[in-house]
């Protein structure tokens, strides 16, 4: 997180306000990307001559997160949860509706297209479909060399040499620069896409479902390649995928999205071993597990009923409540804040707890200044909860119901 962005927290004597913006110790690196309250609404227009805006698809609705330098944040969720939109916002393929995206002292959200150009060198993208993301009428040399030419990073004479180097890095034959995409298999095409993304030596790579279009045996090759690339060049990744196992394998940090919001974010261990949000728990229990099934019995599977509600008219309060087995009155009235509950763990749920240990009474009610049904309590004073992109060094301990710090 950059210093410029520390917001003026009303410093009450209470712990929560006194949150420094830097990580508590040196074990975690500085953030390279710091996203705050990012929103993207797509207008829905009426048919007819005067195309009035009759609503908004709230694809991304106020999300905050950080990606560490050389780190990897995984973004998971069902289709329509806004994970791909987030990726496209960060690469500015879409213009955000509101919010900021701080990258090396620049706010990517407000830069003009002209000012954005040099930044595009730093933030590159790998696309899902290796068939439609490569121009079939260009040779691989042209495809991988174009970023080099556009940004004039190497003199024209050396473009070809650099292309060969890049092809070698991603495990393709460097002499194949003259071939067309149709001469390559799916996995090889994805490698070409990766070579193109690496051409400008970006600091941040947004990988949008980079392996989901590939065959199983090829997926592992590409995941290993991405990992090598990350270790060798120290590139930070925003890794968007719906496959929880792949994300767990690649990302030390994971954010779970539902209907445009982050419902849980934390370190790999916290999210996978100690998931506190019912949606995360449902996702984890729904993903089939080969080894578990092989050795006898599958894990308890939570069956979510119905579909994701429409993002045009999302449910009030907690967006997950229509499919949640824990939902009570407060869930419809109050939106749960994304509350930090551990050194590197945040969750947005009124009844946050590990599976099967959910509290009877909403943990958030005293913080929000409401009674257990979610009605505002005149006597109570809401605690000012921070919505910082990163993690603070104090958090709300769910057991003791008080703020603690390391």
């Amino acid at each position: 997180m950059t210093e410029s962005e520390v917001t003026s927290q009303p410093s009450a004597g209470d712990d929560p306000a006194a949150r420094p913006s830097t990580p508590p110790d040196g074990s975690h690196r500085k953030a390279i990307l710091s996203v705050r309250d990012l929103k993207k609404y797509f207008p829905v227009r009426s048919s007819g001559l005067i195309r009035r805006t009759i609503g908004n698809v709230q694809a991304v609705d106020g999300i905050s997160f950080e990606v560490e330098q050389g780190g990897a944040l995984g973004l998971v969720g069902e289709s329509g949860c806004g994970k791909s939109t987030t990726g496209r916002l960060i690469t500015r393929l879409y213009d955000p509706t509101a919010g900021s995206m701080m990258f090396e002292g620049h706010d990517l959200a407000t830069l003009s297209h002209r000012a954005m150009t040099p930044m595009r060198k730093e933030v590159q993208m790998i696309f899902q479909d290796p068939y439609s993301s490569l121009n079939p009428r260009h040779t691989v040399g042209t495809i991988v060399g174009t970023p080099l030419r556009v940004h004039k990073v190497v003199p024209e004479k050396q473009v070809l040499n650099r292309v060969r180097e890049l092809l070698e890095v991603v495990g393709l034959n460097p002499e194949h620069y003259n071939r067309y995409p149709n001469e390559f298999s799916g996995g090889q095409r994805q490698r070409i896409g990766i070579a193109r993304a690496l051409a400008l030596q970006p600091k941040l790579l947004v990988a949008d479902e980079p392996v989901s279009a590939l065959d199983v045996s090829i997926q592992a090759q590409v995941v290993n390649l991405l990992r090598d690339v990350q270790n060798e060049f120290g590139i930070a990744f925003l890794f968007i995928a719906h496959d929880l196992a792949v994300v767990r394998h690649f990302c030390p940090e994971i954010a779970v999205m539902y209907l445009g919001k982050i419902v849980e974010i934390g370190s790999r261990e916290e999210v996978y071993e100690h998931a506190h949000h019912p949606y995360t728990q449902a996702l984890l229990s729904a993903s089939p597990d080969v080894k578990q099934a092989a050795i006898g019995g599958r894990r308890e599977r939570i069956r979510l009923e119905g579909d994701v509600p429409s993002p045009i008219n999302p449910p009030s309060g907690c967006r997950f409540r229509t499919r949640c087995w824990l939902a009570q009155d407060i869930c419809a009235k109050q939106e749960p804040p994304l509350l930090q509950i551990g050194p590197r763990h945040k969750v947005a749920c009124h009844f946050a707890a590990e599976l099967g240990k959910n509290p009877e009474r909403p943990v958030t009610a005293p913080l929000l200044g409401t009674d257990d049904q979610g009605n505002h309590d005149a006597g109570a004073t809401p605690v000012d909860l921070p919505n910082e992109p990163g993690y603070g060094d104090s958090w709300y301990d769910l057991k003791n119901k008080a703020f603690t710090s390391a």
Binding site: E78, Q221, P288, K291, I295, E300, D307, A327
Partner: protein, 401 residues
């Protein structure tokens, strides 16, 4: 067409020598023998499926696993009789309920298709007709095999939609496919496939296009319906996790051939073919060590225009050096009884001692915590079969939206 004198060892449940009428006997409902499917193309003959034999009994589920181009879809399209006879060369035998269906005329096939064998496709949006109401498409499938009035067929459609869990089936029956979500479309497809109460259901990647939570719903639904209708199911997938949860038996296919075939438990705990090992180790696991490197299968799936000589997997196989001579390059291995044979487990591989390689080299890499259990054969006896009864899903969900 019914030849059984070939090197493939007879699997107990897998073969019947005499055509039977299927009903009342233990004979498998579907028996495929020596099926070969070839497509002549401008570039040469594509040998999509070679000498494939398998069977599925009523109430059982067979999982067919393989990469794209391994012939898993082509073989099941042959069962449905959906290959263009003019452009396809087929040989072997496919018996549905004791009747030979390979080579049947289109008219005769039409009586079987939908009624005895039905299919669910991967992409429900392209498999449903966008111009017709969902209910009309389902009742049309019903009327094709039953001489009933339109209103009766419509009632049947509503009943089926309700059965597969579409809320307010009475009103949704008049919706068009685009008004359904992905999961609901797949449910509608299942309703359409089951409307004639088929004895065999072929599901070709039924959940690949769906999210994990919806996938779980659909898989549960298929299992429930199987219990009710006692139908045989073939589930075609590349996802071993889906197979692990659904199938009683698994057939692993590579380059148009079965390379390993056995009970799900056998295949997942004692696989003996390097390709199956590769599939198991290249998939990350939600419980595996995240820092461990994935072990991919090197190279790419072969072209079926010019499949590799000998064992089709040999160019990608890391264990070839353990086979004496150049056997792998020159000779196609037969399907032979597996070392750790149980329940008719067969594999197609020259490796002399695959079980030892698996236990000493492969398993420690992919599941170190399981080595002891597998080696000592101490795995828990029963595999999971269904929903855990008291899972949180039993709690009544809020109905208002």
């Amino acid at each position: 067409m019914t030849q059984t004198n070939e090197p493939v060892p007879q699997r107990e449940a897998g073969y019947v020598s005499e055509p039977t009428d299927g009903a009342g006997t233990d004979a498998p409902f579907l028996v495929v023998e020596d099926l070969t499917v070839r497509f002549p193309t401008a570039d040469g003959m594509v040998q999509a499926v070679s000498d494939l034999s398998y069977s599925v009994a009523q109430g059982k589920t067979l999982g067919i696993v393989g990469e794209s181009g391994s012939g898993k879809s082509v073989s099941s399209l042959a069962v449905m009789g959906l290959h263009d006879a003019k452009r396809t060369q087929m040989s072997g035998s496919i018996r549905v309920g004791g009747k030979e269906v390979l080579g049947l005329s289109n008219d005769k096939m039409r009586r079987i298709r939908g009624r005895e064998v039905a299919m669910i496709f991967q992409d429900p949006l392209t498999a449903l007709h966008p111009f017709y109401k969902v209910g009309v498409q389902i009742s049309e499938a019903y009327q094709a095999h039953h001489d009933v009035s339109r209103s009766k067929a419509r009632t049947k459609a509503i009943e089926m939609l309700d059965r597969v869990g579409i809320p307010q089936a009475r009103t949704r029956v008049d919706d068009y496919p685009h008004q359904f979500s992905g999961g609901m479309r797949q449910r509608a497809m299942i309703a359409m496939a089951l409307v004639n109460d088929p004895s065999l259901l072929i599901a070709d990647e039924p959940t690949t296009a769906l999210d994990v939570t919806v996938q779980a719903q659909i898989l549960d639904l298929l299992q429930e319906l199987q219990k009710d209708f006692n139908s045989a199911i073939i589930i075609i997938t590349h996802d071993l996790g889906v197979v692990a949860e659904m199938a009683d038996e698994v057939m692993v296919m590579y380059a148009g051939r079965a390379v390993e075939y056995g009970t799900t438990r056998q295949i997942l705990t004692h696989p003996e073919m390097p390709y199956t090992w590769g599939l198991l180790s290249s998939v990350p696991d939600v419980t595996a060590d995240p820092e461990a490197r994935l072990i991919p299968i090197k190279g790419n799936p072969p072209s079926l225009l010019k499949p590799p000589s000998g064992c089709a997997f040999h160019p990608r196989c890391p264990h070839m050096d353990k086979v004496p001579g150049d056997l792998c390059q020159t000779t196609l291995p037969d399907l032979t009884v597996a070392q750790h044979a149980e329940g008719g487990h067969v594999k197609r591989c020259h490796l002399p001692d695959p079980s030892a390689i698996y236990e000493q080299e492969i398993l420690p890499e992919i599941a170190p915590d399981l080595v002891e259990l597998v080696v000592n054969d101490e795995l828990p006896a029963e595999t999971g079969t269904g929903l855990v009864e008291d899972s949180p899903s039993d709690v009544v969900l809020p109905k208002e939206r």
